[in-house]
Amino acid sequence: MYPIVEKKVLSDNVKFLKIKAPLVAKKALPGQFIILRIDEKGERIPLTIADSDPKEGTVSIIFLEVGKTTKQLGSLKVGDALENFAGPLGMPSEVKKYGTVVCVGGGVGIAPLYPIVKALKEAGNRVISILGAKTADLLLLEKEIHAFSDEFYIATDDGSKGHKGFVSDVLQQIIDRHKVDMVMAIGPIIMMKVVSNLTKKYNIKTLVSLNPIMVDGTGMCGGCRVSIDGKTKFACVDGPEFDGHKVDYDNLMLRNRRFLHAEGEACKLTGAT
């Protein structure tokens, strides 16, 4: 069992949990994820690691309550424990000195971006960060990411903070002003698609972190397969990060809708909406 040692409510439906999992904490690197199962009857869901502390033996996750499992996860309290917590899974981010990197995070995608921003900064890059959300209240880890960024921007859909509009607008302005050597984008699929389309025009290396539905997370089931440059790859063992210019985003969107009908049914039954 893996006890919850800290919980924060970041917004109505975004929660932070710090979980005691010493073996995972010891190995976790930026970009990797875990698979958890709340209880005996639970499903296995992947979540990208938001932070880890090997000394303390803890791993932090931040998640949006979108379905039955994430809602149940969000209702747990400090002292509760998860049945299973396996990881760190997937390949870590390729952290090295690129020069100037732009880190783009959208929604809860900001959470897994944080350790990458930190690592890229520590590797000697000039880090420009752009965080995006629907509205200012939904922005995560602003202070934390700002602390490791040479330049820091915000974009909100409603203009409640920073630029009114999309992260891609801000990215365009940065590309117009700076030579950018690499872009790292994590967020909603549509955001990663738009960012990749933009950087492709300028031939800027772009990495995205994909979040397909998974079961085992060890390369066994192929449920998380994604099409990269026309070739089938498994996000769990080959990813989760891929060259943003080669991802078939439309197929990923389609595959992530595979069980929506069942999600609705499960939520109705448990009273979650």
């Binding site: 199962r37 009857k41 499992t69 049945e83 085992d216 066994m220 078939d248 499960a266």
Partner: protein, 452 residues
């Protein structure tokens, strides 16, 4: 053997054959000729004294029969259900020359179930040797190797990536062929021998093999053939196409057949097509019926004579109403405007000259394209060895199919590391994995004694 009627059984997930009762078992055992040269034993990968345990059943001494089986095989309730006996012990049985071979597999299952009901007694614990062994994976190879090593007095820890033990016994083979309660009970027996199992440990990620090598005196790798093969045709990533592994894992291990009581869903619609004709394909097609599919097809590019599945599995599938469409090769999946699978297009085939496997090679008939409306496609055309450990262990010699190269007894290119089962051979059977685990346990024991 008495079994559930096909009509009844496709409405439940309960085991198909009921198993022998005491009288029938004794009667059957009495048919044994007790051949001096014991041909049946030549066919047994785990070296069970078959005439020995059969003689005990014939006398009604079931406890002694259990003891004889257990001396070689720690998992008889599993092998007694999923072994391809017809090619092994029963294939060599002298009675076969005159008619039906002896029902050795069924008698093994009978004894295993008898013992199960009575309560299994672990043998006396041997003197500890002070040696520690790490076993990676709790499938049939790992469980067998761990059990045998524990009985030799070694301290064994199994590292399992998933949340349940058993590997393919749990995620792959359906409940109606191998009830999960049986797997759990056999695992409990292995634990009663002193074996520890750690879950959620993905070796290569959570702990590396190198770390295991510093902490343990030897390492056995039995991580199986967990990488699904694909048809590599257009449309394979559409919503509605599953690998056999994903489909079976959702249903068996995650219990999607009990959704929404269990949280993991599966969606199959009315018309399900399984590609392939091995045991896994039969499991998929039969599982689909139990989940409510109206039509369950098997599409195979050769004929029934070339099907790799056991005859019993093919027979069971037919009885349950699985429709076999033979000499057919898919060329693409077609989706609707939302990307949801709706059709498969295929070519008809005819058999040509024999290929290197000796089976006649299927050749497409030009212009024979046809389409079939389907809701779900299950791709069951084989699995390759799981790449996680080979990827992270540079000095381990790997074959061209991604398998770990070993000798007969599981020795790898690295002295302290042994391997066996599907990770070494590519996808094979449960009993061959158990046999490999057994031989590796002996080799590890010899290696440790030499080191003393």
């Amino acid at each position: 053997m008495p079994e559930q009627s096909p009509r009844e059984r496709i409405k439940n997930v309960k085991e198909v054959p009921f198993g022998y009762g005491k009288e029938i078992a004794i009667q059957e055992a009495n048919r044994c000729l007790q051949c001096k040269n014991k041909p049946c034993m030549k066919g047994c990968p785990v070296e069970i004294d078959i005439p020995g345990f059969i003689a005990c059943i014939a006398k009604g001494d079931f406890d002694k029969a259990a003891e004889i089986i257990k001396a070689k095989n720690n998992l008889p309730a599993i092998s007694g259900r999923v072994c391809p006996y017809e090619n092994q012990c029963e294939g060599e049985c002298t009675l076969k020359k005159f008619g039906e071979p002896l029902g050795i597999g069924r008698l093994e299952r009978f004894i295993a179930d008898y013992e199960q009901e009575k309560g299994k007694k672990p043998p006396k614990k041997p003197e500890p040797t002070g040696k520690k062994i790490a076993v990676v994976g709790s499938g049939p190879a790992g469980l067998t190797c761990a059990g045998d090593l524990a009985r030799m007095g070694h301290a064994v820890t199994i590292f399992e990536a998933l949340h349940d033990p058993g590997g393919v016994l749990m995620y792959g083979i359906p409940e109606f062929r191998l009830p999960k309660a049986i797997v759990k009970s056999e695992v409990e027996y292995i634990k009663s021998l002193g074996v520890e199992i750690d879950y959620d440990i993905v070796v290569g990620k959570t702990i590396t093999v190198q770390e295991l090598m510093t902490e343990y005196d030897a390492v056995f790798i039995g991580t199986g053939a967990g990488l699904p093969n694909w048809l590599n045709i257009p449309g394979e990533n559409l919503d509605g196409v599953y690998s056999a592994n994903e489909f079976l894992t959702r249903v068996n291990m995650m219990k999607a057949y009990k959704f929404p009581e269990y949280d993991t869903p599966v969606k199959i619609g009315n018309i399900v097509v399984t590609f392939g004709a091995g045991n896994v394909a039969m499991d998929c097609a039969r599982t689909a019926l139990r989940l409510g599919a109206k039509t369950s097809y098997i599409l195979y590019r050769r004929t029934e004579a070339e099907m790799p599945a056991r005859e019993e599995e093919i027979e069971h599938a037919k009885q349950e109403g699985v429709i076999f469409k033979l000499l057919i090769a898919p060329i693409r999946f077609i989706g609707d405007e939302k990307g949801i699978l709706k059709e498969v297009e295929y070519l008809k085939m005819q058999l040509g000259e024999p290929d290197e496997s000796g089976r006649r090679r299927p050749v497409p008939i030009p212009g024979s394209e046809e389409k079939l409306a389907i809701d779900t496609a299950l791709v069951a055309i084989g699995q390759s060895p799981n790449p996680l450990i080979p990827q992270t262990m540079k000095d381990l010699k790997i074959g061209k199919h991604g398998n770990i190269i070993t000798d007969e007894d599981g020795r790898t290119s690295v002295p302290k590391i042994f391997a066996g089962g599907d990770i070494a051979t590519g996808a094979a059977t449960v009993i061959l994995a158990m046999g490999a685990g057994k031989r590796a346990a002996r080799a590890i024991d010899a290696y440790l004694k030499k080191a003393l």
